[in-house]
């Protein structure tokens, strides 16, 4: 049985950095997907995800609720993404070549399927469960453990996230356009 998030966090704080490996393994895919929603480009997203994990490791002492490791991680990821985007903006003013490069790495909502775009816009609590469930491949029971919330809360959040997603997709006007492949 893999150790819980809180156990891993405690292990790390007690001087066993190897315990962090479990957390990386558990969240690398959903975190990278989450970051990609912000940044758009996969290479950049992986770089930002790495940076997020490393920062998280050295800030573990500030984590108040170790059982909510993933929500906290997402908070760090959001800051990393902001910085990455700001850096990209600075890049932009340097030269034309780099401008093109920056343009290429800018999030391009059009390139993403509408549903993924809609996930990006979900409120945090809902986005977390959807990202873990569909992009991280975690079961509802896993998510309940990952986020330290009851299973009933996870399914309720999922249900409400579905409603919000469908509303957003409907607003885009193409509610049915991507339903059938």
């Amino acid at each position: 049985m893999p150790p819980s998030d809180a156990e891993c966090v405690r292990s790390c704080l007690d001087g066993h950095p190897e315990a962090f490996r479990h957390l990386v393994a558990r969240y690398q895919t959903p975190l990278t997907r989450h970051v990609r929603f912000h940044l758009g480009e996969m290479g950049e997203a992986m770089e930002a995800a790495q940076e997020t994990f490393v920062r998280a490791y050295f800030a573990l002492g500030n984590l108040r609720k170790p059982e909510s490791f993933f929500s906290w991680l997402l908070g760090i990821a959001d800051r990393v993404c902001q910085e990455t985007r700001r850096a990209a903006m600075r890049h932009k003013s340097v030269s034309c070549d780099q401008l093109e490069l920056a343009e290429a790495t800018k999030p391009d909502p059009g390139a993403r399927p509408a549903v993924t775009e809609a996930v990006t816009r979900l409120p945090d609590a809902y986005r977390e469960v959807v990202v873990l469930r569909f992009y991280g491949g975690h079961s509802c029971a896993d998510i309940s453990r990952d986020l330290g919330v009851p299973l009933g809360t996870v399914t309720k959040r999922l249900s409400r996230a579905y409603v919000l997603l469908r509303e957003q997709l409907a607003r885009r006007g193409g509610a049915g356009s991507e339903v059938t492949p």
């Binding site: 962090f20 569909f134 991507e178």
Partner: protein, 553 residues
Amino acid sequence: MKCTECRDALAAYLEGLLDPADRARMEAHMDECSSCRAELEATRELTARLEREGLAASPVSLETQVMDRILQQQAVELRRLKMRNRIRVLGISGAMAAAIAMLLVGGFWLAQPATAEAERAAEVLAQGAEATPSPSTVHILAKLRTIAHDNFVMIGDQYDFVPVEIWKQFGAKPKWRVEKPGRVAVMDGKSTTMLIRPDYVVTFPQPSPAAFDTGWLLALTEVQDMLTHELRCAQAKRWDLKLTHQTTAAGEQVIVTVEAKSRLPADDYLKNKSFEDADMRRVYRFDGKTKRLVGFDAYLHRKAGEVLILTVERIDYDQPIDPAVFTIKMPEKVHLYHQPERLPDNARYEKMTPEEAARTFFTACEKKDWKEVEKFLWPCDGRVRQYLGGLKLVRLGTPFQSKGYRGWFVPYEIKITMKLPFRVCRSDAAKRWIVLGPNVQADAKRLAELKPLPDAGKYEKLTPKEAIQAFFAACAKKDWTEAQKFLADSTTGQNLEKEMGELATMDVHVGEPTAAKDAGCWETPVEISFVHKHNLALRSDNAAKRFVVDGGI
């Protein structure tokens, strides 16, 4: 069912997580409500899209890069710490050194306006870490207050000291062994095994860095990491550090004391029950010349004062270790532990609450239904059966949890009845009956050596049954001088109090003696019953997802 309730339950419904009753209610509602039915269909389509999206996203593997970066950055931090020491060695004045250090370690010290003593103590710890960079082997002899026949985690001032020995061989393929009287755990580079003496074996097919709760003991062998880590914790969590010097036969010693605090809240059940979750004073002794760690003690803080809980008596560095240390000499026949398996009627057990699981377990013990007991408890051998067989469940309390444990604790009270075959043997020399514990053979020579008591007449005429009754009556009154008269070995009242003291609260019923094989000896069944109160530890994070007993018996 209302529509809002139905919509909130859609995800649980689609995931198959509703129990049959709720599922039926929901389906009944949807049969009647076309709008909820449409909602379900639309949600089904949405989740199918999300599934496709998720699958299209290839899995990511960042573990190696992330861990490499973390370890690299940590090394940098440690170098900064060492650099700080060098500044001191260079003779820069205290204030300036502190200022430079603050810049170097980026606020490392800002967390705590350290006293001069705490600062010096921190330096001794850092020097100690530096003085033991990477030994090839470490061998530790220690004494620990713990339960000899339990895993390696519990500590407590109510337990006696047991010897603990730890071996660690470092290198590309590390190996380790941790041993105490009841258990020995070994990792031989390929697999990890524990022998629960005499003949129970738990084995993992992989080389585990620590298993069976040996992690904190093995951490003692990684001196550099341990000291660096202690220093970091002390600074981050503002633990008090003290520094003293002592001259011993072996030379000058520098002693650092750390007031470590448990991570668990004050009222947590597991607080102060393990090394890592206890409020304790840790004392590190360093050799004045080599700066190496030569000893380590830990004191548990109790209301009545502090109690020594662990003392490392000896640490050997770089001594070759006999390869045989990393093997376990197994008894001929062993019982091999396996993970709780899914039972044919697993669903019944999966659904149990902690209280139901505890009740089922104790009820099975009451009925001596060992097949059922084994679903909860391993090993369930003769000793366990003798202890638990025929118990009566008095009551169960409200289950509770600890922040330091993934399972549940269920408070319980059971009445245990044990039938033990005591023996009484006649000592003609001493003109009285001598009581021998269960399964103890009479030592004729010893019996012949015993001297008569001044009031021998009082004891001479007792029957074997009366003698054993008189012995237990004395124990019940805690009259150890009187109890002593029925024993062959002279032992102190204090020892008797320790061994037999609990008898005062027990019901004792002496049966009819029958003549034993040895001349002059009688076999006497004695029924002892007592109420035992404790907390049963249950956990269900196993493949079968049902509660099994993890401790507290």
